[in-house]
Amino acid sequence: MRDPLNSFIEAIPPSGIRRFFDMVAEMDDPEVVSLGVGEPDFDTPWHIREEGIYAITKGKTFYSANAGLMELRKEIAAYTNRHYGLVYDPASEVLVTVGGSEAIDACFRAMLDPGDEVIIPEPCFVSYKPCAVFAGAVPVVIDLQEKNEFKLQPEELEAAITDKTKLVFISYPNNPTGAVMNREDLEKIAEVVIRHDLFVLTDEIYSALSYGDDEFVSIASLPGMRDRTIVVNGFSKAFAMTGWRLGYATGPARVIKQMMKVHQFAIMCPPTLSQYAAIEALRNGEEDVQFMRNEYDQRRLFLLKRFEEMGIPCFEAKGAFYLFPCIKKFGMSSNEFAERILNEQKLAVVPGSAFGASGEGFLRISYAYSLRDLKRACERIEAFVSKL
């Protein structure tokens, strides 16, 4: 038989997070405490779920428009304007997708020609590089540095640019590091992007989860950036709606129009029931977001303090629901550390190296867990490192 496989797809390595979860599943031990999961531990707020149920009872069970319900697109445009000062036309500049993930894939396909280079700073979520490869593009990785709190530096960007570079990918607040970039940080990046006539794809799925004094700033809102930037966001993280599979892309009409083609032929339309629930989320869900953000922030402060007490260096991440402590001083790789702490203390954390080579020497700690779980986990980390 001939080789049935596409050689590019075949060459993509399996996700490092996946590999680790498989190990946890194999242990099948109820005593295992996990800080591994990257999704909110909160249920979707009831009024939003109720709206989904209502949509079912009213028989809203048909396809929607390809780009999503107009009512929802209008709410998305209003939300984006209210929170980030970005103005988009609901008819031509908003595309509702199956999670932020679909939007990223559609954006790469719509913007990149084979051989185009897309700059991807790591550590980052595991899907970006494979999606770039799906589009036939060439991912060019920048290894971000802990000393810069994992913020992309203009010099790093400048050094990665070639005459094939077309798109710069950024994602802040970041999974896995929890890093955020404030206005000043982003202005320096925008300057380089404009000077080299590049475009930006920004995954802002965690935008509602930023802590501390700086308000979240979208790079698209900086002068000269709106028409160079595709913003990806969604409902999963802000409104605890992961299973509803709903995200969106906003950007200049000429790009959204082409993304729409990828979307309409591959996906047709996002789930209609979820879209009705999402309208309710945007109209009446702000208090829920505030509540959850406050809870995450308390857990974040708790963990930072505990890592300090344990003498494990951890920069003060101000976004998403992750901390990225450095375990280099224990003289083992992230993989080894994660495997040993799983076997010896029954604690599951994801090795930083699953998110790129520059994540080596770090762990991703998710605080989408109750304070009780976090306390138990810290006790196990403490017991583990005290024996090293």
Partner: protein, 159 residues
């Protein structure tokens, strides 16, 4: 800081001061002082354990009793209220708007104890015109907690 402390304690009275300080990013000594001050100022009136007595197999009943009274000159409802709340059987009493004047909550008594309390003590108080006793048949949610609903982490491995 006090608002934040209270919001957390309201849901988890058993949290340790050190943990409370950590999640607020505050100094533990300061947090302890704040809590103690609120206790002495009666901002924090007490700490209460929510118990599902049904699970212990004890046959205890709870009742809501609507009470109509005649308010008295000079003291309004307060004097009658005091004559009711002084009874240790009464776990809560509220002055309410609507069809009655007070709602009195009795908790953890036998049916007979409740019946005796209403007929012999409550209804004989000067100023009490009538009572309507509603036995609680089943508790679904109490003090913000859903009764008897174990929560399982439904999140699956995904990457």
């Amino acid at each position: 800081m006090t608002d934040k402390i209270l919001t957390i304690l309201e849901k988890n009275a058993r949290i340790k001061i050190d943990d409370l300080a950590n999640i607020l990013g505050e100094d533990a000594v300061r947090v302890r002082q704040e809590v103690e001050k609120m206790e002495s100022d009666k901002v924090i009136c007490g700490y209460h354990t929510l118990i599902n007595w049904d699970k212990v197999g004890q046959e205890k009943a709870d009742a809501l009793i609507e009470v109509k009274v005649t308010p008295q000159r000079g003291v309004g409802f307060d004097q009658v209220a005091e004559r009711i709340w002084q009874y240790p059987e009464v776990s809560s009493i509220y002055l309410v708007s609507g069809n009655c004047d007070f709602v009195v909550l009795l908790q953890g008594k036998s049916m007979r104890e409740i019946a005796m309390f209403v007929s012999e003590k409550l209804s004989t108080i000067d100023g009490v015109l009538s009572t309507t006793t509603q036995f609680i048949l089943k508790k679904y949610k109490q003090e913000g907690f859903v009764v008897d609903s174990p929560r399982k982490d439904e999140r699956q491995a995904i990457s």
